[in-house]
Each structure stands twice: as structure tokens, then as C-alpha cells.
Symmetry: C2
Amino acid sequence: MSTGMADPAGAKPTLRDVARAAGVHLATASRALSGSKTRPVNPQTAALVRRAAADLGYVPDQVARSLRTHRTPAIGVLIPDMSNPVMPPLVRGAEQVLAQHGFTTLFADTDNDPAAETQRLRMLLSWRVAGLILATARRDQPLAAELTQSGVPVVMMSRKLDATPVPSATVDESVGIAEAIDHLTGLGHRRIAYLGVPLWTSAGHERHVAFTDLMRGRGLPPPPHHVVVCDGYSERDAEVALRALLAAPDRPTAVLTGNDMMALGCYAAIRAAGLRCPEDISVVGYNDMPLTDRVEPPLTTVRVPYYDVGRQAAGLLVDAILDGGSANRSIRLTPSLVVRNSTAPARP
Amino acid sequence: MSTGMADPAGAKPTLRDVARAAGVHLATASRALSGSKTRPVNPQTAALVRRAAADLGYVPDQVARSLRTHRTPAIGVLIPDMSNPVMPPLVRGAEQVLAQHGFTTLFADTDNDPAAETQRLRMLLSWRVAGLILATARRDQPLAAELTQSGVPVVMMSRKLDATPVPSATVDESVGIAEAIDHLTGLGHRRIAYLGVPLWTSAGHERHVAFTDLMRGRGLPPPPHHVVVCDGYSERDAEVALRALLAAPDRPTAVLTGNDMMALGCYAAIRAAGLRCPEDISVVGYNDMPLTDRVEPPLTTVRVPYYDVGRQAAGLLVDAILDGGSANRSIRLTPSLVVRNSTAPARP
DNA sequence: TTGAAAGCGGTACCAG
DNA sequence: CTGGTACCGCTTTCAA
């Protein structure tokens, strides 16, 4: 990039400088550079102005422009925790389409802390962002409702709300769960347990509901203790949960987990019980995080297209902003099962 | 968060509204809210103003403020590719300390594309960011030099430049390499190969130089073909490189790689050659990315404190901005070897 | 097609 | 300590 810094000290050239250099009026320079539709500029004059701008290394001041136009080409993206492996592709996807449409991404990681979320939200709002993408929401999140009502377009990314109809880009969790269940039943499993993530996200809740419904629908209603909602998302959470199940008499022959780390926790519990995966117990994970294909045994898991979810979320928001907020659509993408070696036919 | 939106439509209250509501002059309201040092305000008046502001749900307009003050509490963060596992902790660390100091993080993922980088840089600069954190730089990056000279404080994150003395937060790669080598020689290895990442990042270059220097320093100068610079960062790159080495007569008994995926590529090459890791050949990775402790065999690797690197980079930049750019310090953090099971004593 | 001038929402300098 | 006011850099309406 030629930043073309003509000036020695940091004094950035303004539109006034460009106009003077081009020998035209400030207003003309403005019109020439921003290609005003309503007020055409003589092509020759325009060329002159553009040359002057290039020579001076002029970069329009977005701050001044925003103040004047009341439009700020910036979008706030709120993430609960970047160390969660599903977040990077989400953010990456969103940033790419936002940039493509000229929007700057204002990034904030709330660290799963409500206080931090409030602080970050206030920060983003103070910039008069054109919209907000939230990946932080709990199902009962009161913020989003207030926010949309406050006039800032909001899109939920990978999560959504129970009560409020906020546009969202998510994944059809029931498909993921269904594929997992069908894969297992296809292998002859009938006692399938579910070790779920907490229910305060829509994803967690939907997976939980889908599991119960689908198992029932397939004539395999699980006993209540085979459907457990863990306290957290960690390996350890699943490990202790599965240990309990394995100690009970009617232990499952297969277990589906709410995320991949929990699936690894199952591996640990299975080993600890002197059993083996997949010979004695099959395990299915969720998310297909990196390297789950390299663990032992390679994990059968539900792959979720987070990168695309991010792109779609951004697309939805851009549409809403450009269409004047008329669009209130939502998008559901489809996950798919990746079969590896942590699942095997049920023991006869 | 109580957004306290008192107004029904999206019309955000301005300072003028607050002043009117509080029965004071615009200027007084400004001083009361921004706690002007030089122009004290009567505590009672101030309280009145603050109450009015709260009642109206007033959020100061950062855009207007920035225009007037020429200070924009926003920092641009340029990342080469969020799907590189070292990036998320870097960004997370940086965002946290930036937010702590009141700076908004303008995030941009350049997708390793110079054109995208130019575009994003222009975007960030148009916001008159107070500073820039670059994790994208090649060693010969011409941009950073131009940028610093242009007046915008720049800090390099996890990478640095050859020629230009730009402040940076990095890691002492020679320590990482040294620990790896010493661990290996301690196990009796003498023919140690290095399969490095490309040299256009400072990290890649430093690891490469450190390996050669340190091996020589320990009286184990490696034959030239045992020090290879791969074309890329992928598993496959290392796999083909190692295959060649294993086919040669004086094959190494241990190999150190430039990143963890490449270490996994070595696993593949070793298996393909009918050998075993660590019994026949030891492998050491670099970065300690998630789940490298779960692969088979669990990978011995150099752990790099990327989260802290991110924090330090942001800290450096904040200092430079507040101290008026006088500080031109750099920081080096220290990596450490994590010994797992991919390394074993050399065969006698 | 171009010039002139009025602000956007704040801050800071000046006077009182 | 508070009121008045110029102005940051740009867009946009109104005239010419």
C-alpha cells in the first residue's frame, strides 16, 4: 500500500487541502470524491480532485463524515469468549462480509461476564454503530429486546432468544442431533444417553429438546437419568456425569454429548470404568473442533458450519441496515455428522 | 444493562437535551459529564446534570467527541487469519487490556491477502485510530515503517520487523528452541532435524536461526539437509519434508518442527515409513495448540504465552499513546517446553 | 455544474 | 464557577 504520506509530520491532509490543491471549492471536492449522485461533477474537475487527493495521500475522515451524515459504517460484534473454539470462525466470517460492504468491525470479548458485556455494549453504542451482532446471548437475554427497540439493528449469531423475534443466523440443531441418533440406531444402539451443555443458550436448549423428542419419536424414550444437563461445558463436567451413568445398572451403549470437549470427558470416564470406546460404548461429539480427528479414537461428531453462520449473520445485518430495517429474516444452516471411529455397532 | 431508553423512537438524546433538562448551559453539562480537570464544576450542579443524563439515557457521542478533540479511543488490530490457532488468544488478550483503558478494538482479518490488508488498513486509518496493532507483518513489511512515520503509533504483536525499530511484544524464540534441543540432547539425541515454517515472519526466521546457532553451539552442527524450511505451515508440508529425510541414509533420531500441525505431519511420515514415534523418532512441536495433548502420542511442544503477548502488545500501545509516543520499548516473553510422550531416549 | 453557508454533537477557550 | 461561542472535517441544501 502506498500510504502516500506526502506530509512530513502527522498532519493529515483534509478535504480543504485537497480542494485548494485542485483549485476547486471544498464542496466540489467533496462531491467529486464521494461520487455524489444528485450533484454531478464535471468529469475533468473530478479527475483533477482525485489526482490532488492521491498526491496528498488524502484519507477521508470517517469520524467527521459520520457526524455529519449520522451514518456510521461500523458494526459491533460481541463475543462471549474467544477461547471457545467455535468463536473464531464465527468472527472471521462476520468480519469478512462486513468489510466487503465497507463496515468496520468493532470487536468485543465479554469474557462471559455480564458486567463486561454492559460496559462493552455502552462503548459500542457510544460509537453510534450501525448495527450489532451478538454471539453472547442467553435465551432470556433482556438486552437484545431493549436494543432493537432502541433503534440499533441487532442480529443474533449462532444463538437466539426465546421470547423476542430478533433476526438470527443459527443452525438447525435438531438436524445435528437427528443425524447423530440415526447413525447410532443404525449401528444397533438403543440405550443412548445425552450429556448436554447448559440450557441457557438456545443451542444448548434446542439440542436437549431435540434429543428427547427425537428419541421418543423413534420409540426409544430414554429414562430420565440418561438425559443429563451438565453444569458447564468442560471435559470434567461430562466425565463425572458419565461415571455416574456407567455405575448404574442399565448403562447406555452410546452417548451423545453437547460439545467435543465433553466427548473427550466421556473417553476418560469410559477408560476409568475399564471399558473401551467404541467397542463397549460409542461416543458422538458436537462442533467438530480442530484435531478431534486426531484424538484416540478419532471422534465422530456433528460438524457445524460456524464460518458460514458468521457470514450469514453479517449478511442479515447488512441487509437490515441497507433495507432500512424492514428485513426481519432469520437463517438456519444445516449441520452434518462426521463419522469417525468413536462409534461402532452395539454389542449384541 | 439498563439502556434507559427514555425516548420511544430512536432519537438519541444529545448533550443539549441533557443541559436543558438540567437547566444549565450546554458547556456546563459537558464539563460536568466529562469531569473537566481545568474547569471545575459545582458538585451540586454536576450531580444535577448527571441525574438528567441518566434519566434521559444519554450516551455521549464518541464520533462528535473525536472530531472535536482529535483523539479517537479506538485501536485497529490487524490479524492475518483468525483460523490460525495462535490468533484468538492474541486478540483476546489485546482486546481485554484495550477495553480496560477505554479503547474500542477495530478488528480486521486480512486473510493473509496483501490487497485485503491494504483495504483494511485504509479503513482503520480513516477512523483516525489512536494506534494500530499488527500481527500481520512479514519481516520486510514496508507498511509499518511508513505508518509509524505517518504519526500513528504502531505495535507489532507476536511478530516484528527486520530493519525498522517498531515496538513489539514477542516471544524469545531462541529460548523455545533451546529448551527443545536440550530436552532432546538430554535424551541422548545427536542427529536432530528442524522442519521450519517459512522465513518471512520474524518468528519463523528466529526459530530457524536459533536452531542452527544452538546446535552448532552444542557441538552438533546439523548437516544442511537436516535444516529445512518448508514452503508452508501445513501438516502436509512437514510430511513430505520428513519423508525425504527418512529415506536418506543418516536419518535424524529426532525432529523439531516450526508448529504443531507440522509435528502431526511428522507423525504421518514416520508411520508411513514403518517407524514409530517416539520409539524410533522423537518429535517436538511448537505453539502447544489445543488438543495436542490428546493426539497419539501426546505431543511434546513449546508452549507460547500468546494471550500474554496480546496483553503486552496492547499495554505497549496504550503506554505509547498516553505517554505521547515517547516510549519505544519492546517486550519479549518466554516460552517453555511442555514434555509429553512424543519424545523418548534415543536408541542406543 | 459550482460556490456559499449551515450545521452534525461535542469541547475548550474566552469573558463575566 | 458558568455562559457564550468558535470550530473539528465533512455533507448537503440553497443560490447563482
